[in-house]
């Protein structure tokens, strides 16, 4: 770890009390007097100091370590909790302003297929994005709602700054929905995927065997290129499926094609958690599902997140498919803990596990990581806690949204019609 040079005295002179500064630029700063959930092997550090320079975390140590540092600002967390910014996943944030206003809704397309790239429809100014920041969410893996095909297209990564350049990576994964089929047999859907992967594998084998064939081969279709990137393990194959028998069928596909598999939904995964753990497949679940919504999900239960973790499965918590209330993610984690999930595992399920699964450079408080950091006034899973400050790449973010403007308008006394209160 890089040794800091300046004295603690200089530090306290530069000290700024929590809540008194405006939205800071990417200055250097240190967060002091915090309990830091690092989401790393360092675990939880009491009375810690986190130093950020140029948007990157440069030091995470207990105050007792006695290091010195030279920063523009000191943020006294006043004994609060610091976590990595939470990372949402498999939702449609930013693709929708109002779901039922079809002109403002770009998550779904009848013709969506494996090539569908919904990132072209992303609006960083969607009003739900600022609202989502209230939940301490700093990055998000966006997906589409799909169309008529088994393929919903490709996921993409955003930060929640709401800035014009907030799409950080596109085509980060390929999303497929299998299982219950309203129009026909679920078997056809799985067969379609198998056929696609077999075709891709054959084409890869042919190319590597015969150099001339490679030279003569026509320019590959976009869909073929994407299949290849799944087979090479470059892109995760994200499969939404609930029934245990379907999950087992997909685990066989992983074995056969050696794909980088991620399960989504997985209502009845708890029945076969050992097999999933053994196959080393992460599972993205909604911790609040506990009703037998269909014959595919008879074993939905609030204890499932904890049980999967205990069985050795890497768990990611998500409110899949949501557009407007993704901010509730931290409460889902609280409910998972209330129903048996290890607390630190629940923190990991909102942070480092998402980062690992989707290859995101974020999700932990460690040296070298982007400073995606949230300061809470208490347990981040509790209703009584809220975001005190949050940073994305070291830049402070507001948690205010148009909802706050509306509340202020209607709670500010005025003799004039409310329309004059801005």
């Amino acid at each position: 770890m890089k040794k800091m040079t300046k004295s603690l005295l200089a530090l306290s002179l530069a000290s700024t009390l929590l809540g008194t500064s405006g939205l800071a630029l990417a200055d250097s700063f240190a967060i002091t007097n915090a309990t830091v959930h690092t989401a790393t092997e360092q675990g939880v550090i009491q009375n810690a100091v986190v130093v950020v320079k140029d948007g990157v975390i440069t030091s995470v140590v207990p105050a007792t370590a006695g290091i010195t540092y030279d920063v523009d600002n000191i943020i006294d967390a006043q004994g609060g909790i610091v976590t990595p910014g939470f990372i949402g996943s498999m939702n449609i944030l930013g693709l929708v302003e109002v779901n039922a206003v079809t002109d403002s809704s770009d998550a779904w397309d009848k013709k969506a297929d494996i090539t569908f790239d919904p990132s072209f429809g992303y609006n960083p100014k969607a009003s739900s994005i600022a609202f989502t920041r209230k939940g301490g969410i700093t990055r998000n893996v966006v997906t589409s709602s799909g169309g008529e095909d088994i393929h919903s297209g490709q996921t993409f990564l955003v930060d929640l700054t709401g800035d014009w350049d907030s799409v950080k990576a596109t085509s980060t994964g390929v999303f497929v929905s299998l299982g219950a089929n309203h129009e026909g047999s679920r078997a056809t859907s799985i067969q379609q995927l198998i056929t696609q992967l077999e075709k891709g594998q054959k084409s890869l084998a042919k190319v590597s065997k015969d150099k001339k064939a490679k030279e003569d081969a026509p320019e590959p279709e976009a869909a073929d290129e994407i299949v290849k990137s799944i087979l090479s393990g470059e892109k995760p194959l994200i499969v939404s499926v609930d029934r245990a028998s379907d999950i087992l069928a997909i685990l066989k596909l992983k074995q056969r094609f050696n794909v980088n598999l991620v399960l989504v939904g997985a209502a009845d995964a708890v029945l076969i958690s050992e097999q999933i753990a053994k196959a080393n497949v992460p599972v993205i679940i909604d911790a609040m599902r506990n009703l037998p919504e269909s014959f595919d999900s008879l074993h939905n239960d609030l204890s499932n997140a904890g049980k999967l973790h205990a069985a050795g499965v890497k768990v990611i918590l998500s409110n899949m498919g949501d557009s407007h209330n993704i901010y509730n993610l931290r409460y889902s984690a609280g409910n998972a803990v209330a129903n048996g999930m290890d607390y630190n595992a629940a923190i990991a399920a909102l942070t480092v596990n998402v980062a690992d699964t989707f290859n995101i450079d974020s999700g932990s408080i460690m040296v070298g990581k982007p400073a995606d950091i949230v300061i809470w006034n208490g347990d981040p899973f509790e209703f009584s806690s809220h975001v005190v400050k949050m940073y994305i790449d070291g830049k402070e973010q507001s948690t205010q949204s148009r909802h706050d403007k509306l509340r202020e308008r209607y709670t500010t006394p005025s003799d004039m019609p409310r329309g004059y209160t801005k």
Binding site: V96, A100, L291, P292, S294, Y327, H386, Y410
Partner: protein
């Protein structure tokens, strides 16, 4: 038309005869059975019980520390410190919290049950914009596993409503959350019926897409008004029949109309309005609609913009039933504020209710209220647990017209009680024991008190 003439003459003759002969024999009086599917609810086995040393939220705005609650013969017998009850089962609730049973004024459990399947889509009679003739109770599947889940979340009473596809969607029914093979055995005795009405986007978009009225919001209003004009005439005809019969005349009863029976019940104040209505301007019109036809406009459900007209709602005695944070799914749900319930509740004589409309969140109405309380307090309000619990207990009971029976831990009321492991406004809170009319219906620790639906029994 010519065929009608002789009978019209006959009626005129009959009327004339009746008019001048008071002693003429009357036909048996035609009366309408207002309760043809009566409650068969029976209290589950119970014992005299005392809950000791709990933090008690009474539902009436009080928070009592180290307090005891005594339940005898299905009623709240006493609430206070250092109580004793001879021969009572003692529950040590040290460190635990006690609240009234949770009430949800807006549920579709049983009518849109789990599993979700076409065979189970029984909540919306989407065949006519006015379907006051349908009763949600006739669609209730008592084996919906959601009832058991809701009970584990402390829900003791809930109103099951038809959906919001129609301007007037039909009657809702208030149920006690006990496992049963029949709807009648869940039916809350003597609870008034509700009538589901719907403003805004749902009815106009459904029927508009079929090029039928209503296609617009003005079409919506025309639809309600036409229905209540007919109901007013129907009521007038029945009132006249009643008066004439009472005067000894052998009057002819009006032809019975199932749709208008229900609307007449509204005009007579026997059936309470439960109106799906998001927007401020629509709620204000619905209040006037009630005044136009001389009925009370009741409770506004999903009242996302209630905060804009909180004073008007309180002045007119309307409850507003709200979510903490649902928004954005429709344009009429765009102007959500997290402090909606708090702003409505802050007005004198208000009636702020938190509802679910969801088989998921009905299980955690305590958490839904916690979100509101803490978000509001972060924005400058100063709500306490003893105030916030009213949103899902006493105010909900008021909305359903059963506040004289349940909704608070007042002596003499039904012993509908929840014991929570910790402060129910914590994300880690769980209902440990739930009582309906003094009988234990759920115990977190004891599988004998964890009912399971027939549907889930034996599933692998």
């Amino acid at each position: 038309m010519t065929k009608m003439m002789p009978s019209l003459v006959m009626i005129a003759v009959t009327t004339a005869l009746v008019g001048c002969n008071q002693s003429e024999t009357q036909d048996p009086k035609v009366t309408i059975n207002k309760n043809p599917y009566p409650s068969t609810y029976q209290v589950l086995p119970s014992t005299k019980t005392i809950i000791k040393n709990a933090t008690v939220l009474t539902g009436t705005g009080e928070k009592l520390e180290n307090a005891d609650v005594i339940m005898i013969d299905g009623k709240i017998n006493a609430v206070g410190e250092n109580l004793t009850a001879d021969g009572a089962t003692i529950i040590d609730a040290q460190g635990k919290w006690v609240t009234p049973g949770i009430i949800d004024v807006h549920s579709h459990l049983g009518v849109y049950p789990s599993p979700n399947a076409e065979s189970h889509n029984d909540g919306n009679e989407m065949t006519n914009p006015i379907t006051a003739e349908v009763w949600a109770e006739h669609s209730v599947w008592p084996q919906d596993p959601g009832f058991n889940r809701a009970r584990a979340g402390g829900v003791t009473t809930m109103q099951i409503l038809p959906g919001s596809a129609n301007l007037i969607g039909g009657r809702g029914v208030t149920l006690k959350n006990v496992p049963s093979e029949s709807m009648q055995a869940m039916k809350f005795p003597d609870a008034p019926y509700g009538l589901k009405m719907a403003c805004g986007e749902n009815p106009k978009s459904l029927y508009g897409s079929r090029s039928e009225l209503p296609m617009t919001r003005m079409g919506n209003m025309a639809g309600y008004r036409q229905a209540f004009i007919e109901a007013t005439e129907y009521k007038r005809a029945w009132d006249k029949y009643e008066a004439d019969y009472a005067a000894g005349k052998n009057a002819v009863a009006p032809k019975r109309d199932l749709t208008l029976d229900t609307l007449k019940g509204v005009l007579e104040g026997e059936i309470l309005i439960h109106n799906h209505c998001y927007k401020a301007e629509e709620m204000v019109m619905m209040i006037d609609l009630g005044k136009e036809f001389n009925y009370h406009s009741g409770t506004f459900h999903h009242a996302i913009e209630a905060y804009k007209i909180a004073d008007t709602l309180a002045e007119n005695g309307n409850c507003a039933a709200m979510w903490p944070d649902w928004w954005g799914f429709k344009l009429e749900a765009y102007d959500m504020v997290l402090e909606n319930v708090a702003i409505v509740d802050a007005v004198k004589n208000s009636c702020a209710v938190v509802h679910s409309d969801s088989p998921v969140t009905i299980q955690r109405l305590n958490q839904e209220s916690a979100k509101i309380m803490h978000n509001a307090n972060a924005s400058g309000f100063n709500y306490t647990e003893e105030q916030a619990i009213s949103w899902i207990t006493v105010n909900a009971a008021k909305s359903l017209g059963i506040a004289d029976k349940t909704g608070s831990l007042s002596v003499g009321k039904n012993a509908d009680v929840v014991i929570w492991n910790v402060n129910p406004f914590s994300v880690y809170a769980k209902a440990e024991q739930v009582f309906i009319d003094g009988a234990k219906v759920f115990d977190h620790q004891d599988t004998r008190y964890q009912a399971q639906s027939d549907f889930l029994l034996g599933q692998e």
